[in-house]
């Protein structure tokens, strides 16, 4: 049998249908790889994957839970994709989420005498600022001192998690149950529910708004133009008169702020108090979502739904089939790797060598 040899050949242009098809093909391939892993675990991949989708979309409860999960995912996905567009390697959405949750909880349990509308607005603002400032530290260090942002944003995730535990096991510990969790926030600070008999809350609106706002910023504003230019080539941007330092710092602040809104929503819309594990890694999933969405806000919206389905459905599947729900994390990792490998098809086509 002759050995098949392949060669990469540079493409001149990428057809539009291909840009849209590629993430779907990547998802398909990653399901095949995930199936192999489920098979190795001695379970039936077809029933497992079926029950993921059934669990997430097959019942009203499932759909509602999927929408609850998509809320923070849109925000972390948008936060990461916004940062990546300007080549700010924000791997710290997880930490920024907790910064937002921490600040919102502080405002929520302080029982300010405010009408509901203003109280909610206050939570959003302090949450945004807290996450923004948390991301601003690595942003500033990168812009001014050339400190690698990947490492700093990652390390800051660990720091804020310890900070949250310190607060929850210390001053904010629930005095009644003695659990490491805060007391309930003021009822006036709670996000309204969007749908009867479900946990879907106002955070979803914030998420959808963030998609539109970020789209407008990126495509239609001077700031967005600067961010895209820096993302494409920071040295040239600097040469051509774009203020790279300033733009980077603004990018980091906004990105951190958006990620923080995910944490605000989880506290004010879902749990009404802060615990150590309000996020099962939404910040990291945000990276996968941003990449799968091609750093396009609407792509991110689609990708967040996909991973909300996986995360919600995996819970159900775990009960139904005995495959642990950690399969959701495996699928995330595989999807990112498969997608990444396929991104090369934007630039190259594969040709068989005779």
């Amino acid at each position: 049998m002759p050995l098949l040899k392949f060669r990469l050949e540079k493409r001149e242009s990428v057809p539009n249908w291909f840009r849209i098809a590629l993430p779907f093909i990547a998802i398909g391939i990653s399901f095949i790889f995930s199936s192999i892993i489920i098979l190795l675990a001695g379970k039936n991949p077809i029933t497992s994957i079926y029950s993921i989708f059934y669990g997430a979309l097959g019942t009203r409860l499932g759909i509602m839970e999927t929408i609850v999960k998509v809320t923070p995912l849109i925000l972390t996905g948008i936060a990461v994709s916004f940062a990546f567009t300007g080549k700010f390697w924000n791997i710290g959405a997880e930490g920024q989420l907790y910064a937002g949750a921490l600040a919102a909880t502080w405002a929520g349990i302080s029982n300010f005498n405010l009408p509901s509308f203003l109280y909610i607005l206050l939570l959003i603002i302090v949450g945004f600022i807290a996450g923004g400032l948390w991301a601003l530290i690595p942003g500033y260090l990168k812009a001014k001192l050339k400190v690698d942002d990947v490492v700093t944003t990652l390390l800051m995730n660990y720091i804020i998690l310890y900070l949250v535990t310190a607060v929850l096991e210390g001053p904010w510990r629930d005095p009644v149950t003695m659990w490491p969790q805060s007391i309930m926030i003021s009822p006036n600070a709670e996000f309204p529910k969007l749908l009867q008999k479900s946990r879907v809350h106002f955070g979803l609106i914030i998420g959808l708004l963030s998609v539109f706002v970020v789209y407008i910023i990126i495509k239609h504003t001077k700031l967005g133009f600067n961010i895209r230019a820096i993302g494409a080539n920071p040295n040239a941007s600097n040469f051509l008169g774009i203020n790279v330092t300033k733009t980077l710092i603004i990018t980091s602040f906004i990105s951190g702020g958006i990620a923080a809104l995910a944490g605000v929503g989880e506290v004010a819309g879902l749990h009404y108090h802060l615990t150590e594990n309000i996020s099962p890694g939404y910040g990291y999933t945000g990276i996968v979502i941003a990449m799968l969405g091609g750093l396009n806000p609407f792509g991110v919206l689609f990708a967040s739904f996909f991973f909300a389905i996986i995360i919600t459905g995996a819970q159900y599947m775990s009960r139904a089939t005995g495959v642990t729900s950690f399969i959701a994390d495996v699928i995330q990792g595989i999807t990112l790797l498969v997608l990444l490998a396929m991104l090369i098809l934007y630039e190259y086509r594969i040709r068989r060598v005779e």
């Binding site: 239609h220 001077k222 230019a229 040239a236 600097n238 040469f239 051509l240 008169g241």
Partner: protein, 508 residues
């Protein structure tokens, strides 16, 4: 058969161009063959195929009469082929010795630098090429780097030596030295393939000249039976223009002034020493010099992306030493950077955005927050037409444009903002004759309108052609100022190697 190299019907396609279209080429033992042609004619591609860096699409290669497949430089080296590339392939933090012994198949598991050094010294004596074997590449001059490249190849006992535009970075004197070495090598029976686009060099050194045009062989000549004019027309397919005659222009006020500028290179060495110069309205000042003598730092300082250690820069009597690139652009300074692909354009952005990237924040292109795409589009359309930029539309990624059109984008963007001064660093490097002429015409237009131009170029002919005054830079210092037609090429060459203008008479 004494054809040591024989290439038959070589074909190589790149997206959008046929770089080599059925080229036949041969070289004999002990012969110096020149490959002459414009940039983009396919000379380098052909030789990179021979050296295994590019895979040919079709065709056959015979070395010493045997048909061979060369898939990598390793194969080429094993066949006795060595190549000195146009851009040096040296590892900067390594010493000269380490660079020479890198990748040798005779290397043992453990490297003994001392024995290698002894062997290298023998080669240096034999070929009379001397470089400090312990020096780091980042610390030696461009001329020395080329010597290291040649030593690297000689050390590998090759019989076929390919030199890709070796003289581009050398002074006239260094070129003479190189030619002496090449003649020694030829007498030893080595075959040399010499790639160049400089007519007089090719006529001087070659035994045979092969001219390429648009990926095809357009002619083969014996240097004794041809002349520059004939070669030039084979090269470009039409008669070439000679020296531009400058009409004297009205001398105006000083536009740009540098006072005692000192600066470090990005490696932290002193790159500019007390550089002072002025550029007036209505003149083109050429900065001649071998590249790597401080031109890049000077460009960065005038552009505003590097701050001097000491000294001041004035633009129309305003101190701009600490002004940002943006403020300089707004004052009316246009900058054509040497590295146009990496600095002059953002290749992944669409064409129209590159045309407004330096003025997007002005009315009518944007308001306080938002961009006005309608006005931007109209403006870009106008520029593309006016400057005849060939692009399928305004929204394709800029990187899909050809080299000449890329440079036109930069020039069009700058000129449309009506600058009073343009810094043009290597503005025509790598461009074809048509684009080069166009750029020259535009720079002269600005001069004739009363603008000032600082032309930094390593192409001495370009400098001699366009400049009202010439400054020569060597090792970060200005060696002197020359008026148009005041000194010969040779004298300027001496200044480029470190002779001050005042000392010239002492040498002569």
């Amino acid at each position: 058969m004494n054809e040591i190299v024989l290439m038959k019907s070589i074909k190589k396609r790149f997206p959008g161009v046929i770089a080599n279209d059925n080229i036949d080429f041969y070289a004999k033992k002990g012969e110096i063959v020149s490959l002459l042609g414009e940039n983009g004619a396919g000379k380098t591609t052909l030789m990179k195929i021979l050296y295994g860096l590019y895979a040919k699409d079709s065709g056959e290669i015979y070395i010493k009469g045997k048909k061979v497949e060369i898939n990598s430089p390793k194969d080429a080296i094993d066949l006795g082929i060595g190549m000195v590339h146009q851009h040096f392939t040296l590892v900067n933090p390594f010493s000269v010795t380490e660079n020479i012994i890198l990748g040798l198949k005779t290397n043992k598991f453990i490297i003994n630098v001392e024995t290698a050094k002894e062997k290298i010294k023998n080669y240096m004596k034999k070929y009379e090429i001397f470089v400090d074997p312990d020096a780091k590449i980042s610390e030696i001059s461009v001329g020395e780097k080329q010597k290291v490249e040649i030593l690297k190849i000689l050390y590998r006992d090759i019989d076929i030596l390919i030199l890709d535009e070796p003289t581009a970075v050398l002074t006239p004197q260094e070129v003479k030295e190189l030619f002496k070495t090449l003649k020694i090598l030829k007498e030893e029976g080595k075959t040399i393939i010499f790639i160049s686009h400089k007519l007089y060099e090719v006529l001087e050194i070659s035994d045979r000249i092969v001219v390429l045009r648009n990926g095809k062989v357009s002619g083969e000549r014996d240097p004794k039976q041809t002349n520059r004019r004939e070669l030039a027309s084979l090269m470009v397919g039409k008669e070439v223009f000679d020296v531009i005659s400058l009409t004297p222009s009205e001398q105006k006020d000083v536009i740009l002034e540098l006072k005692d500028i000192n600066a470090l290179s990005h490696r932290g060495n002193i790159a500019l020493k007390n550089v002072s110069l002025i550029i007036k309205g209505g003149e083109i000042v050429g900065l001649a010099g071998v590249s790597g003598n401080g031109q890049k730092e000077l460009e960065e300082i005038i552009s505003g992306i590097k701050k001097p250690l000491k000294g001041k820069i004035y633009f129309k009597n305003i101190d701009i030493t600490n002004k940002s690139p943006k403020e300089r652009i707004n004052l009316g300074i246009g900058r054509i950077p040497e590295d146009r692909m990496e600095l002059g354009l953002i290749l992944d952005l669409p064409v129209f955005e590159n045309l407004i990237v330096e003025c997007y924040d002005k009315t009518p292109f944007s308001g306080k927050l938002f961009l006005n795409y309608k006005n931007i589009e109209n403006y870009s359309k106008k520029i593309v037409d006016e400057f005849d930029i060939r692009t399928p539309n305004l929204i394709v990624k800029t990187k899909t444009l050809s080299g000449g059109n890329l440079q036109k984008c930069i020039l069009a963007r700058i000129l449309s903002m009506n600058p009073e001064f343009i810094l043009a660093a290597q503005p025509t490097r790598g461009l074809d004759v048509g684009a080069t002429e166009y750029i020259h015409k535009k720079l002269l237009e600005l001069r004739n309108k009363g603008g000032g131009v600082l032309l930094i170029s390593e192409d001495l002919d370009e400098i001699l052609n366009l400049s009202d005054r010439i400054l020569v830079i060597y090792n970060g210092e200005i060696m002197g100022e020359i008026k148009r037609g005041e000194l010969s090429r040779e004298d300027i060459g001496l200044m480029m190697t470190g002779t001050k203008k005042e000392e010239l008479h002492a040498i002569a």
